[in-house]
Symmetry: C2
């Protein structure tokens, strides 16, 4: 087997979104820099999950690898949403100290390609590899290392837009879900309130949202019917041309 060589100017950052039926979360890594000599903690902050690419690896493969390393999941929805290469993106003092401490040239220019991925938080059990990785509510994230806050906002914007026009919400839900869960997802991600009856009227038009003969269990209220999304039906019934807004 050939030795894997990391490309040192190209990296991939993954914005891993998770939905827990209440809010949108993002997987972040707690980065702690400890002084070599004194053993004291110099700072601690949060970063997106990312890594340099291997020389023989495509960008998408790198993103899938990062995702797999953190979650153990494969075949997860992944979407490239931008490339980030500002000249000052690694120049904040903490980041410079971090690069130096990990033996990298703090003046090197690194371009990062952003991918976001979507999954139901319940799919993931977090207990990984010394690296302290946790879900954080997107709404509560205020700043991140490097330019990762910018990247996160850019991912959010791309996700919102995608959600408005493509059937990707299901990627954030388990296979079987209730209409209220789906509605909540739209409300949380888009930041709007939707009318229950109008939402369901809209759903009723979509042949690819299939009602199952199955109900929620163990809830302290009338159990909701479960639905699933059929990509096959969707592909077959999607209209060829769309309306446009000038």
């Amino acid at each position: 087997m050939m030795k894997k060589v990391l490309n040192n100017t190209i990296s991939v950052d993954c914005v891993i979104f998770g939905f827990d039926f209440e809010k949108l979360n993002v997987l972040l890594v707690d980065r702690v820099l400890v002084d070599e000599k004194t053993g004291k903690e110099l700072f601690s902050d949060l970063t997106l999950t990312g890594n340099h690419i291997f020389e023989d690896e495509s960008l998408e493969d790198a993103a899938a690898r990062i995702l797999f390393d953190l979650t153990g999941l494969e075949n997860i929805y992944l979407k490239q949403f931008g490339a980030f290469g500002d000249t000052e993106r690694l120049l904040k003092p903490n980041d410079q100290a971090w690069l130096r401490a990990s033996g990298r040239d703090p003046h090197s220019r690194i371009l990062s390609v952003g991918y976001y991925s979507l999954l139901a938080t319940e799919k993931v059990t977090l207990k990984w590899k010394g690296r302290n990785v946790k879900w954080y509510p997107v709404a509560e994230v205020t700043d991140l290392a490097f330019d990762h806050y910018t990247i996160l906002q850019s991912a959010l914007q791309a996700l919102r837009r995608e959600l408005l026009y493509e059937p990707i919400g299901f990627e954030l839900l388990p296979e079987k879900f209730t209409l209220s869960q789906l509605q909540k997802l739209y409300e949380v991600v888009l930041g709007v309130e939707l009318d229950k009856r109008n939402f369901r009227k809209k759903i009723a038009r979509m042949k690819y949202l299939i009602p199952l003969d199955e109900k929620q269990k163990g809830v302290a209220h009338k159990p909701a019917r479960l639905y699933m999304f059929s990509r096959e039906v969707y592909e077959k019934t999607r209209k060829e041309v769309f309306d446009f807004n000038i």
Copy 2:
């Protein structure tokens, strides 16, 4: 003044779209490789316009620079639409020969960030710099050097989507334009036919499309009224939340 240093692993490719009231065009460069010794032409093909970035230059600045070098135009609409880093993107025989002939390592990995830009072809006078740059109808482009055909298709897809949901069509037209020109633009880029009356009814709802007291001149038919797009009115009147399609 500091000497400019090119980054040799990151490049920017510009997909420069132009509209001539009839079809969508793209600026391409005729690449000719001549045998050093014999002076014979080894091959000739087409590439997108692109270049490596300077070390002290942002991606967007690099794209704007490429655009300026080719067209002499500034403040042109520019949109990043993707990063292209497949491991085999430079491995076609012509491309390998080209890299070797221009003294570059044919095995090096280069990541290219794609930007597309929009302008009315009439804005540009082409007569440039030894490099043979010309407009080609997008519909007639069948293949390009490197992975540029893939990049072009990806740009087209991004443009179509943007055109469906944002008011960017005006970037492809002169400041003053007729409704038929605008309609043709939508038809050509989206590949659809639109009904004239319904199109105009829709236009009438958009306050930011401003009818001028001015008409076309020198046309052999009833001259059309000219319109312009007001970004200020658009920004003020755009609705906060949108409808969504699941």
